[in-house]
């Protein structure tokens, strides 16, 4: 499952910026590290992060499901089809350099996916919007992130309805690629044109709610921040800078 899971863990109670800073730190750190051992240390850090959030089991399971196809392709592209020299592992000969590269790339992806799944599971979207409003983030940005998520299910439902309606009118979804391409118009056009026709109505509704004012909005229940959390966020930034400095220093050497 991907999405917020209510809870009382330290990550649930933390300011949403702290939770997101840690996940972003994992993302940036993943690309700074280039050796298998380093990357797998980062995967371990991501697992600790998930454990602190009390979502290790659910996040690790989803991360594994999402990463497995990538791992399989990495093994084929780099392990089986990688460069020489090769080593025999059971009945197959795998590229040693390719396997090392696959371990780095797969570890990176696993750390990133696990980190962000944990952030999504522990940072409430409502608290994030409140935190953004409290920091004076313009209405437009919070609107785009929060409101689009509410529009998507409606659009998906409409797409399904159009699909059924056009099939009832005799539209065939199968056939040759050209026939399927021709069916794209009758399905996509009503969806897009219908949404465009509603734009003015939605602008009026937002205007009526004072969204065009441009003034700073007062959040009802902003999440509390603390000096310790601010230090933690700056420490994540310092660690990322240190990791990249080390990477480029090593590349020069």
């Amino acid at each position: 499952m991907i999405g917020y899971i209510p809870g009382r863990s330290p990550l649930h109670r933390a300011h949403p910026y702290t939770t997101l800073a840690l996940a972003t730190g994992l993302l940036l750190g993943a690309f700074a590290l280039t050796r298998p051992a380093e990357v797998w240390l980062l995967v371990a850090a991501a697992a600790v992060y998930a454990a602190v959030g009390g979502v290790l089991r659910s996040s690790a399971r989803t991360a594994l499901l999402l990463s497995l196809p990538i791992w399989a392709l990495l093994f084929v592209v780099h392990g089986l089809l990688g460069p020489e020299p090769r080593a025999a592992v059971g009945p197959v000969a795998v590229s040693t350099a390719g396997v090392e590269r696959a371990l780095v790339l797969g570890g990176r992806i696993t750390a990133i996916v696990l980190g962000f799944l944990t952030a999504l599971s522990t940072a409430s979207p409502h608290r994030l919007v409140e935190a953004m409003s409290a920091r004076g983030v313009p209405f437009g940005r919070t609107f785009l992130l929060a409101s689009t998520l509410t529009v998507l299910p409606r659009m998906r439902e409409r797409a399904a309805q159009i699909l059924e309606a056009q099939q009832c009118r005799g539209l065939r979804l199968g056939g040759s690629p050209l026939a399927r391409l021709r069916a794209l118009g009758p399905l996509a056009l009503p969806l897009v044109l219908g949404a465009l026709a509603e734009v003015d109505e939605q602008v009026l509704a937002l205007d009526a709610r004072g969204a065009a004012g441009g003034g700073r909005r007062t959040p009802l229940d902003p999440p509390p921040d603390s000096p310790a959390q601010r230090v933690l966020r700056w420490s994540v930034l310092a660690l990322v800078v240190a990791a990249y400095t080390w990477k480029f220093w090593r590349l020069r050497g």
């Binding site: 392709l73 990495l74 689009t148 391409l181 996509a188 056009l189 026709a197």
Partner: protein, 191 residues
């Protein structure tokens, strides 16, 4: 030069563009077409409003696609959405979406530019493996003996040229199908 802040209308159109980017995949999947069409909304917003709103639509789409699917490897490809938005705005200014005959070549050009951005990201950042349909093409080409860089580039160019040509043709059809009263509300269309 002062930059005009995004209006409420722009924000609603950006939201529409993001929703189209994310939902059109549902239709593509039902038709079993070998394309993504995940930038139709970005191109549409570029043609209706301009590059700034299109860049916002593209970036928000990329972030939400990653969040909703859990596949956060898509995040670095946000750069491709920026390039698509800028190219689409330029093509719209030149009036290339007015006819399908000009929209398709514009889409092929867009596919070339998009692949030129996505192939290096795929190769250098993810070693050519991003778990999309494009990776299957990469794997097949690699198995046929092509070097990894050639396999990644070939897979990216072949999928992006087709994908963006269809996306631009679809946007052209949408713009031509707009009722006159609706089209009059988008001054960018008149240029």
């Amino acid at each position: 030069m002062t930059v005009r802040p995004l209006s409420l209308r722009d924000l609603v159109l950006i939201r529409l563009g993001v929703a189209v980017n994310l939902v059109i995949g549902q239709i593509v999947a039902a038709l079993l077409l070998p394309v993504y069409l995940d930038s139709v909304g970005t191109i549409l917003v570029a043609a209706l409003v301009g590059p700034r709103a299109a860049i916002a639509a593209g970036l928000v789409s990329q972030v939400l696609a990653a969040v909703l699917s859990g596949n956060f490897t898509w995040l670095p490809f946000g750069l491709v959405q920026i390039v698509i938005a800028l190219y689409a705005a330029g093509a719209a200014r030149l009036g290339l979406f007015r006819r399908i005959a000009t929209a398709v070549p514009a889409g092929v050009g867009m596919g070339f530019v998009a692949a030129s951005c996505s192939a290096p990201i795929s190769y250098f950042v993810f070693g050519g493996v991003t778990a999309g349909g494009v990776t299957v093409v990469t794997t097949v080409l690699r198995a046929l003996g092509a070097p990894l860089s050639v396999a990644v580039a070939s897979a990216s160019y072949s999928t992006d040229l087709l994908d963006k040509a269809i996306a631009c043709a679809l946007v052209s059809v949408v713009l031509r199908s707009l009722p006159r009263t609706l089209a009059a509300r988008f001054p960018a269309l008149a240029r």
